[in-house]
Each structure stands twice: as C-alpha cells, then as structure tokens.
C-alpha cells in the first residue's frame, strides 16, 4: 500500500501567493491602474521589480492586484458550481427514474455545448463584464461533470439502511442530504472543487485574454496578458513570462493539492513481473 505524500511545498507556495495577493496594499509601490507613459516597456530593475507593460503600468502591482481578482473569481465560481452540482446531483440521484432521466439528459445537453462557447453566450446575455458576472458565468458552465459524480455517489447511498432509517423517522430531503449523504460524497466533491477552482482561473484568464472577459482596464492575470501582442512585437519578455509564471504556479499548486485529496492510491503490486517487482514482493514477504 502506498500513501501519497502531502504536497507541503505546493501548499506553502499557494499560501504565499494568496498572502502576496491579498495583503499587498502595503507592498504595492504603485497604483496598478496608473499608466505612466514615461516608463513604457521598462525591463525589470530596481524601480520596477517586474518591469512595466506597454501602457506604462507597474507589473509587480498588477500581479498583486490582478491575482486578487483572479483568485476571487476562481473561488466564487467554484462556490456557485459546487452548490449547483450538489443540488442537481442529489436531486437527480434521489428522484424517481423518469425525473432522473430528464435531469441527466439536461446535464448531457449542457455538456455537449462547448464550454467556452457557452461562457461566451452567457457573457453576452449578462452584458458588461465585472468580477461577479464573470464568476456567475464561469460557475454556471462548470457544474455538470461534478453533478454527475455526486449523482453516482448518491445512487449508491440512497438504499443504504441508515438513509432509509432517516427517511422513516421523517427526515426531509435536506436533512438527509446534509446529515447523511453529504458527509459521504464530500471527499470526491472536494477533489473536484479544487480542480474547479483551477478550471475557473483558467477560464477567467482565457476569456480576459481573448477580450471577452474583464476589460483591459480591470487588471486580472488574464487581462495583463491580453496586451501580449504588443509585448511580442517589442520583445518585452517580462510582460509575458512573469505574470504567466504566477498563473501557472498557482494552477500547478492547486492541481497537486487536488490530486492529494483524491485519496490515497491503494494498489496491489503489478503482475507484469520485472526484476523490480520481484524485489518488492520479496521485501513484502
């Protein structure tokens, strides 16, 4: 049996990034929105730690400030999609077969619309984008696969004796859901929720990058990178590499944490039998 190692480094880096983004008022030397045209495209140096972008904004403060927005959107969107998924999944799992069928067909339908396109659509419906509308849009597009997982778990649980007992004693839907079902599917939902935070951050940055998310003035990790076309032309690598490194670092830490939460690998040894396994087997004996 193998126990997964706790991703301490990932947690540490993630905490550092979160603290960096949320407690940066004091650190931030400059206003992230202030465009100082005298210092366009400055390379990283003493005055601007990470340089300035093509509009003369300080990238260091932009990353602080933008990270706050990106992380907030990631969190809010995940909160919304998790609530939707738990609700849809458990209703579908508890309901009679016909309603279950309709609900699942609906979920499949939502899954068949390409995710980004659905986001684009909803974005158009909501009109002007701000942090909250974008979170709602991303949340509304990310609940489907989690709902399916919840449904599968609930289907297995609904006929257990203790759920039956709770129902017989007069427990309502929500009582059974929160007291008996939720504690059981919590681990798998937790894993998917962490992955959803990751996906929401990716979605936000991609949308803002292509110009469908937050506007350029509203600084987030995605919208910093939307100026990259100019950056490519002027060969200012720091505008692309530094914010991107923060973005990828955060995503990587989240993935590692999520994988840890998926539960410990509980594998028997391979039957393929090479030398390595033979030695391992001997050790186990």
């Amino acid at each position: 049996m193998m126990k997964k190692k706790f991703p301490a480094l990932s947690l540490l880096i993630l905490t550092a990034i979160v603290i960096f983004c949320f407690a940066c008022e004091g650190l931030m030397a400059m206003d992230p929105r202030y465009m100082d045209l005298a210092y366009c495209n400055e390379a990283p140096g003493k005055e601007f730690f990470f340089g300035t972008d093509t509009m003369g904004r300080d990238i260091f403060s932009m990353i602080c400030h933008g990270g706050r927005i990106s992380l907030t959107i990631g969190f809010l969107a995940t909160l919304l999609s998790t609530i939707l998924a738990v609700f849809a999944g458990s209703v579908s799992g508890c309901a009679p077969a016909r309603i279950d069928g309709v609900l699942m067909a609906l979920t499949e339908l939502f899954l068949s619309v390409p995710g980004l396109l659905l986001t684009v659509f909803l974005q158009a419906v909501f009109g002007g984008a701000n942090v909250y509308s974008l979170s709602v849009v991303i949340g509304l597009t990310g609940w489907m696969s989690m709902a399916k997982v919840v449904r599968t778990e609930v289907l297995q649980l609904r006929h257990t004796d203790y759920v039956l007992a709770a129902k017989c004693l007069g427990g309502g839907f929500f009582h059974v859901l929160f007291r008996h079902l939720a504690p059981n599917f919590f681990p798998s939902v937790l894993f998917m929720a962490v992955m959803n935070v990751r996906n929401a951050i990716i979605a936000e940055s991609t949308l803002s990058f292509v110009g469908l998310g937050l506007p350029v003035e509203e600084v987030s990790w995605g919208s910093i990178l939307s100026l990259s076309e100019n950056a490519l032309l002027s060969r200012s690598w720091w505008i692309i590499l530094i914010p991107g490194a923060f973005l990828v670092g955060t995503l990587l830490c989240l993935t590692n944490l999520g994988n840890y939460m998926r539960g410990n690998a509980n594998r028997r040894h391979s039957n393929l039998g090479c030398e390595k396994n033979h030695k391992k087997n001997m050790k186990q004996l």
Partner: protein, 333 residues
C-alpha cells in the same frame, strides 16, 4: 436478428435527432435572449438610417415581435432548407463564411487529433512499462506541469521563443501573403499551433492510458500469461493493451470534437483563420446568426461522437454488448 439491428439503429438515430433538436432550442433561446438587435442580422448598418416607424415595420415583417416559439419554428423552417441567415459582420450567407474557414480548422484539429491519438497511446505504454521508475516519474511530473499551462499562455511562450527570439517559424495566419498554394509555407505556419494543440491535450489522455494499463496489469490473467512463459512486454502489448483499448477508443471518440473544436483559443492567438477565430469574433460583435451555426455545428459533433463512443465500446467489448447484438448469438445477457 436483422430486425433487432435495424430497430437499434432507428432508436439511435431518433435519439440523435432529439438531442440535436433540444440543443438547437437551447442555443436559439439563448441567442434571442441575448442583448443586441437581431434587425442588424438582416439589414446590417442600414438599420441606423431607418426611421423608427420603418424599423417597427421591418420587425413586424420579419416576425421579430412574435412569440419566441413562432420565431423558432420559422428559423427551423429556414434551417431545414439550408438557410441559416446572413452574417451581420461579413454581410454574406453564414454558410459561405463557414465554408471558407472550416477546412483550416479541420486540418489543424484533425492533425492534432491524429498526433494525440498515436502519442498518447505510445506514452501511456511507455510509462506503464516503466511504472514508478525514474522515466515514468519524470514524465508524470512534466505531464502534470503541461496540463496546468493554459493553452493561450503556451501559445504565447512558443511565439516568444520560436517566432520572436529565434525567428525560425512564422507566428500568425495560415499562409504568407501571396503563397496560398505553397504547401511548405502552410506547413511552416501549422507547426506552432499544432504543437500547442498536441501539448495541451496529450498528457490528459496519456495519463488515462497509463492508469488503465496499470489496472489491467494487476489482473490475474497476466499472472497466467507469465506462467505460460510469455515475456512481460509481450503480455503488455498483446493482452493488457487489448483490454485497455475499448475504453481508449471510446474516450478518443468523445475527445474528437473537443480537440477538433477545442482549437478556438489557439486559433485566436495565432490569428489562424478557422472556425475558432470566427466563434470569438461573432461573439464579440454579437453576430448571432453566425454564432448559432458555429455552436450548433460543434454541439452536433459532440453529440454524434458521444453516441459513437457508446457504439464503439459495444462493438469491441463483449461485456458492453446488448444481448444478441451485434453479430453475437454467443453472448449471454
């Protein structure tokens, strides 16, 4: 027997039509609820020169004041005749706009899919054979990292390195100006977008293959085959791979539309003239007629491939087979 088969086919076709229908209702409703004046879709900028009365008249004539249901029925009628309306932005038939670009997307997505299909299988086998050894661990680590990199940033990175710093490859478009027929030129333009498509998806599938094989390797028949005297590699390729193949094929069938249509972001970054750039443009300029057809096209492909996946696993894997179908009287339900 034959009748059963035809029944099954009819059932599947019916299910497919029903799903596409539901999808079209959904997409239509959203597009009509969205802000933006559909009059523009028909008249373009001439709307601004019309008087209010004229606009109202036009609305009446086009039936835009009627309930959503009637409008949908009319759209459906047109769609059945192959008339999807006019693209506001391009001022031509939606079909023409799409026809001009779909080839580029199919080349990029199709090549990407083929590469991913082959490489994922190979990488999965490679890692499964070297389970928990250095090579496997390193590849798993690298794979996790690549799966975390958003596609648009990977595109930027490659652009920065290969198009700006090294200046080896062109960074945008599908061909250089005046070289439309030049295959070598087109290939050079394809390298970077293709690399992003492949790198962005590869590990997800390779990892699935690896894990599926690792489950397979733990089955009892492997022990038997080893006892018979087969070498480990033979068992892996001849037996375990066979066991893992049905789920791989159905997974790749589901993946097909995602890879084909998932080139949106990549196309946008590389300004590659395909369906993806079209989708984003039409969303940004609220060109709903166009956006609807693009969404329907992609959605239909997804539905079709999902059903295909179900059929494939039924064909290859006897356990998934519905009793008496296809071609197997020997299978007992």
């Amino acid at each position: 027997m034959r009748k059963l088969y035809i029944d099954r086919m009819l059932y599947n076709v019916g299910k497919f039509v029903l799903r596409v229908f539901a999808l079209s209702v959904l997409v239509f409703t959203i597009s009509r609820l969205a802000p933006g004046d559909p009059l523009y879709a028909y008249y373009g900028e001439r709307v601004e020169k019309m008087s209010v009365a004229q606009q109202e008249q036009a609305r009446e004539r086009l039936g835009l004041n009627e309930p959503l249901f009637t409008q949908y029925a009319r759209w459906m009628q047109g769609a059945c005749r192959g008339d999807f309306g006019i693209s506001y932005q391009y001022k031509t038939d939606v079909k023409e706009v799409i026809a001009a670009r779909i080839g580029n997307t199919l080349i990029l997505g199709g090549l990407g899919f083929l590469l991913i299909f082959v490489l994922a299988l190979w990488l999965g086998l490679f890692c499964a054979w070297r389970e928990d050894r250095a090579a496997d661990r390193i590849i798993c680590k690298i794979g996790t990292v690549t799966s975390c990199v958003p596609e648009f940033w990977l595109s930027l990175l490659l652009l920065l390195v290969f198009a700006v710093w090294l200046d080896w490859l062109p960074g945008s478009g599908a061909y250089s100006v005046g070289k439309e027929g030049d295959a070598a030129d087109r290939a050079a333009h394809l390298v970077l977008p293709l690399a992003v498509v492949v790198l962005g998806h590869l590990w997800y599938y390779a990892f699935q293959v690896r894990n599926r094989l690792l489950e397979e390797v733990r089955a009892d028949y492997v022990l038997l085959a080893r006892m018979k005297g087969l070498r480990g590699k033979q068992v892996l390729y001849r037996h375990c791979l066979r066991g893992a193949l049905p789920s791989y094929l159905s997974m790749m069938a589901v993946a097909l539309p995602h890879i084909l249509g998932g080139t949106y972001v990549v196309e946008t970054v590389f300004s590659y003239p395909g369906i993806g750039t079209l989708a984003y443009e039409s969303a940004r300029y609220q060109d709903y007629n166009l956006l609807m057809v693009v969404s329907l096209l992609t959605g239909t492909a997804v539905i079709f491939c999902n059903m295909l996946a179900g059929m494939i696993s039924g064909r290859i894997d006897p356990r998934m087979r519905i009793h008496g179908l296809p071609g197997g009287g020997e299978v007992r339900g």
